[in-house]
């Protein structure tokens, strides 16, 4: 019998992801058409082009580097979501865990003058503490991890604003620049910037995040811990039946998820590319985009690398939209639409499977009918 290539889950994921991207761009384009038809096509092309926006190759490289710098924390957030999702938990608290990482890293760097490695570890610990809280609540009080995660997001945001107010610039709401105030906390570049037209923000964070993706893949695929996590996620009852420690696994998973997100926070802010605004009234989109990246990546750590890059690519590309034709929020709107559609990967995969099953059923039925008719003649 002919093998149906469409039945291969990896192929399905890929097709579904590409379809989502296409649909997102299409709907984004339609929205632009409604607002101002004149610039719609150019704008959507800008979004897709991102760093190719600039005609000069060295500028292009530099801006590619910046996109990569932002991809690293996004990837960490996506890995955090993915890790929890494998156990059947939806870690929406990733946004708060990311902020906790930012807070810990910046505070340790600016207030205590710590070096980059301790800062990173401190960020990791901060994210892990939040994850622990959610995990304990889930395991022992059966508090839904989505509810406690969202609540903690806000608590973390305002705590961060409060703490980082102590290390902000006098005249602005932004935290102090690390380059001038705490150079010891800047992540080492190992000369990586040279490949991106001397973009000093490209640091070890980028390869490190990719290493973490590979690491997560190995843990999930090759270890006893991963075996237990996936068994619990796939069939909680079977996991209980064979005596896996469910509570311990839930807590441990959320601790690790929190740690990954927290580390992600330090990976961006310890480059000094951005400073934290202590007047922020919403949790940064990085964590939530991580959720989209997880699904767009087909719930696979390696797929997530590419998905994270893509999402960061269009997010950055959005800033190149012509602001004489559209209002300033348009870039966020367009990337939000595309990211939103990215969440539909699982849905598309499901409908693909349904279609395949239906077609096969029809074919079998026809074959049966034909056989019966043949029999009666």
């Amino acid at each position: 019998m002919k093998k149906n290539l469409l039945k291969n889950p990896a192929v399905q994921s890929l097709i579904a992801s590409l379809l989502c991207i296409f649909l997102g761009l299409l709907i984004g384009y339609i929205v632009l058409l409604f607002i101002n038809p004149a610039g719609a096509w150019d704008s959507i092309v800008e979004v897709v082009k991102n760093f190719m926006h600039s005609p000069r190759p060295e500028r292009q490289l530099r801006s590619l580097g910046t996109t990569l710098v932002r991809t690293a924390p996004l990837l960490m957030c996506a890995l955090s979501v993915l890790f929890a999702y494998k156990v059947g938990l939806f870690n929406i608290g990733v946004a708060g865990q990311y902020v906790a990482g930012v807070c810990a890293a910046l505070y340790a760097a600016l207030a205590w003058g710590w070096g980059w490695l301790p800062c990173m570890l401190f960020a990791l610990a901060a994210g892990a503490v939040l994850g622990t809280l959610v995990g304990l609540l889930k395991a022992y009080c059966n508090v839904n991890e989505v509810i406690s995660g969202i609540m903690l997001n806000w608590i973390t945001l305002y705590t961060t604003n409060m703490l980082l107010s102590k290390v902000k610039e006098v005249a602005s709401p932004y935290t102090l620049h690390l380059t001038s105030n705490a150079p010891q906390a800047l992540l080492p570049t190992l000369g990586l910037g040279r490949f991106f037209s001397d973009n000093q923000y490209v640091t070890i964070a980028v390869p490190l995040a990719i290493l973490f993706a590979i690491g997560v893949n190995i843990v999930l695929d090759r270890t006893r811990f991963g075996y237990e996590l996936k068994a619990t996620g796939n069939n909680r009852n079977a996991a209980k039946y064979c005596g896996m420690a469910e509570k311990r696994n839930i807590i441990l998973t959320l601790v690790i998820a929190g740690a990954l997100a927290g580390l992600g926070g330090s990976m961006l802010y310890l480059t000094d590319l951005e400073q934290w605004s202590v007047t922020a009234t919403s949790v940064p989109g990085m964590g939530f985009n991580g959720i989209a990246a997880t699904f767009l990546g087909g719930l696979n750590p390696i797929g997530t690398i590419f998905a994270s890059y893509f999402i960061q690519h269009i997010t950055d590309g959005g800033t190149n939209v012509d602001l004489t034709m559209y209002c300033a929020q348009i870039s966020d709107l367009i990337s939000a639409i595309i990211i939103y559609l990215c969440g539909f990967v699982l849905f598309i995969k499901q409908s693909m499977n349904k279609r395949i099953a239906k077609n096969e059923e029809l074919r079998l039925q026809k074959a049966r009918l034909a056989a019966e008719e043949g029999g009666t003649k």
């Binding site: 090759r222 068994a231 796939n234 069939n235 005596g243």
Partner: protein, 512 residues
Amino acid sequence: MESPYAIEMLHITKKFPGIIANDDITLQLKKGEIHALLGENGAGKSTLMSVLFGLYQAEEGEIRKDGKPVKINNPNDANDLGIGMVHQHFKLVECFTVLDNIILGVEPNKHGFLQKQEAREKVMALSDKYGLHVNPDALIEDITVGMQQRTEILKMLYRDNEILIFDEPTAVLTPQEIEELMQIMKNLAAEGKSILFISHKLAEIMAVADRCSVLRKGKYIGTVETKNTTMEQLSAMMVGRNVNFHVEKGPCKPGEVILDVEDMSVASKVHKNDAVKHVSFKVRKGEIVCIAGIDGNGQTELVYGLSGLEPLKTGSIRFKGQDITHASIRKRNTSGISHIPEDRHKHGLVLDYSLEYNMVLQRYFEERFTSKAGFLKRAPIREYAERLIEEYDVRSGQGPITPARAMSGGNQQKAIIAREIDKEPDLLIAVQPTRGLDVGAIEFIHKQLIAQRDAGKAVLLVSLELDEVMDVPDRILVMYEGEIVGELDPKTTTQEELGLYMAGAKRDEVKA
């Protein structure tokens, strides 16, 4: 002339792939009668009711209401015809009041505003008329199971249903509540309602029904007047006499006690009464003990208690002389208890895992399969799975890497049995190990169980299949409503006698 029948299902045939669930079944419900529908699990009762409610369409046969053919395509059609049902598991909103539940879906309203007063009057009138005694303002979660059931009955009456179906209504009730229900059913029939009473409890059928129709394995066996029959006769009709095949086995040589259960009670998930009530029994080396009984009499919960999936409410479990009442599941699994679960998809397998990963589900943590650093040792897992596949003849498309989901039910079961038996347990708990399997697979599994017994292991078999209960074990314990009501010797007992115990018509005081 007016038809004497309220509803008729004539020559209904309903097929599913590979099985005929209803084979030319005729059921005629007279106006104002209580008509029992009797049959074992899998006899086709549920399918027949689903056809009546339009959930399934029958391939052949017709349904008549008052003598006129009707077409029932969905539950709303059934509702329009005045057919109502009290389900075994109530469909009530726990945090609503009795009154709110009754009017749910048919709320009387004026311009979108609820008119509860009107509804309340109608409900109270109905409640008084039939002696239902409900408090319309009580919350469902606060009232007894019996009152919840009366709420369900009122729901049907409020909708002016003429044909009332009770699906095993007594399963969750206390004896006093059953007594009340019987009276209510008689009142309803006296007022001209037609009642279809689905049950496999013979005593209740004899007490309340006018006529009884019997199904067995999808076939219609006959309809009898209860006043002209006996429980023995009904039991014989229900289980049939023909034994399909016989299991070869030598004499049993029981040794020392392996499992000693004392005064065990386990709470129920579906109702407030305990599912297992103060049960005591022993299982010895070298014997197969079978827990027989009709589904839902506490067997599932008994096994959950033994395996650690549910905590005990009272009592203790001793295994090989050790108290394991509070031991973890992992501890029980590793100290010599194997468990072939009732539901292979719910508990037995991780369907998205490969066959080899499922094969090591109970021992992946052992040193031979996991390195000190916590990495799985893939090669030994593959070898181990391959050996079990070979020994137990587990067939699958791609061998060890086949996803469990892609395997047939029989081979999934074989995989579980291989995994559990290869652990060389001292006690093997096998719950409905042959459910849904073909004759060849059943024979294989029975042989495995007997081989375990002959190797000096203790086997606890839980089965709903009468043939299996009669052929495989050395001792039978019958469970009825959470209690062990009889201990029988399969060599001397008959299926009829067993049926009487299972249906609660007969019971002994069983010493532990």
